[in-house]
Symmetry: C2
Subunit: 221 residues, 2 copies
DNA sequence: GGTTGTGAAATGCTTCACAGCT
DNA sequence: AGCTGTGAAGCATTTCACAACC
């Protein structure tokens, strides 16, 4: 029955996740209040932008003082839906999949992997972070039993689409795809794509552009 | 002495990297031409946006026909600076670091890792993808010898800042950081941040928002 | 007929500046 | 005095619609 639905911008949601991480760290260090300036510099953003982001949650600071660390943390966690931890399944337990399964950042931020799957018989049965790697045949069963709504794909590109299909028919509603291919999925399923090498390529382009620009310094003199 | 500097938008650069990947795949499959519609759907974007992106490179298609796959691929590769391969060093050879070092997508897209580094003695000397893991003490030497300009950080968060400092003093100009902390670096060094769990959190938020919205379907009826 | 290339409109996001509160 | 919250301005990006072209 929430009457207000002010549509939080996606860019803001992404930053809220970062603020949440920083606030959790501050709370762990015993800190009780922060200013927007300090929080912004720890998160790598500008202070005015941070305040605008927080304004989407309604007033949550004290003027002249700052924000209460624990209160703000809980407020953001509730908005992001991280208060109750969400069940995820992970398909593709290579190096990347193993890194994701082990990554403490997930567990501590409201996500738990309830199933690790791989098609290679050699990997099935290995234990990663206390959990066994299961064969793909058990996917539907595990998704049904755990009510997992999120699937993560860390397979080679060639098999990502069939894995996506299997996840959607098993009942997963959201998919995070690390394989470098665009996936087709029914409209009721959200798919987000992360391409690790795109960031590197953007970085290289910016570096190249900057050194080119350095050749025309005299324009500024 | 390139006289034209029309400032390609960063969002476009990121997508160009994706188009390049798709085009490379098409060329490998023996395909000679593509339309913007087909290329867009393989890249997961909308056709008009793709054409606008390509317009930053100047005219490169044939009206009524489409784009020549090989020509467009080479054009994008040149703009992104992928023709000459770039030397990178990678610090932090855990699961994620290993995944990055092994990831074929880098090698085939203009990046080569010329040094893998880790602080843990147990990891030093292991071979990943044909290369030995080196101790941090050799960092400056390798960066100098290979003229590496890009550093990738895949360490735990606690040591990412000191690693960043070591990379910048060694002479690296661009840094891609996978550790979940905002890094401070001198202004002449580009830092880009990738937080693997942020995407998952955005996905969870969108999923939650959508199921909330499903409760108010009658508004549309 | 079919498809590209592109101005112009629309949208979304960021930054600024300052009013408002403690 | 200090810091938050926010309207408004400025900037970037996406989408649309269609003229230009093969």
């Amino acid at each position: 029955m929430t009457q207000s639905r002010p549509r939080i911008p996606e860019a803001t949601v992404a930053r809220l996740a970062v603020y949440l991480r920083v606030l959790t760290g501050l709370a762990g260090g015993g800190r009780s209040t922060v200013s927007s300036g300090e929080l912004a510099s720890a998160a790598g953003v500008n202070p005015a932008g941070l305040r605008k982001d927080l304004s989407h949650l309604g007033p949550c600071g004290v003027r002249g003082v700052g924000y209460d660390v624990a209160t703000l943390r809980d407020r953001i966690a509730r908005v992001l839906g991280v208060e109750q931890s969400r069940a995820c399944v992970l398909v593709g337990i290579g190096n990347l999949g193993t890194a994701l399964a082990d990554y403490a950042g997930f567990g501590s931020r409201g996500f738990r992997f309830v199933g690790l799957f791989d098609a290679a018989p050699a990997r099935v049965g290995q234990r990663i972070g206390g959990q066994p790697v299961r064969p793909m045949a058990e996917l539907d069963e595990v998704v049904a039993a755990t009510a997992a709504t999120i699937g993560v794909i860390a397979t080679p590109a060639e098999v990502a689409q069939p894995v996506c299909d299997r996840l959607t028919t098993a009942g997963v509603r959201s998919i995070l795809n690390f394989a470098p291919v665009a996936l087709a999925a029914p409209p009721e399923v959200d798919v987000r794509q992360v391409d690790l090498s795109v960031e590197l390529q953007v970085l290289a382009f910016l570096g190249q552009q900057r050194s080119d620009a350095a050749g025309s310094l005299e324009v500024l003199a």
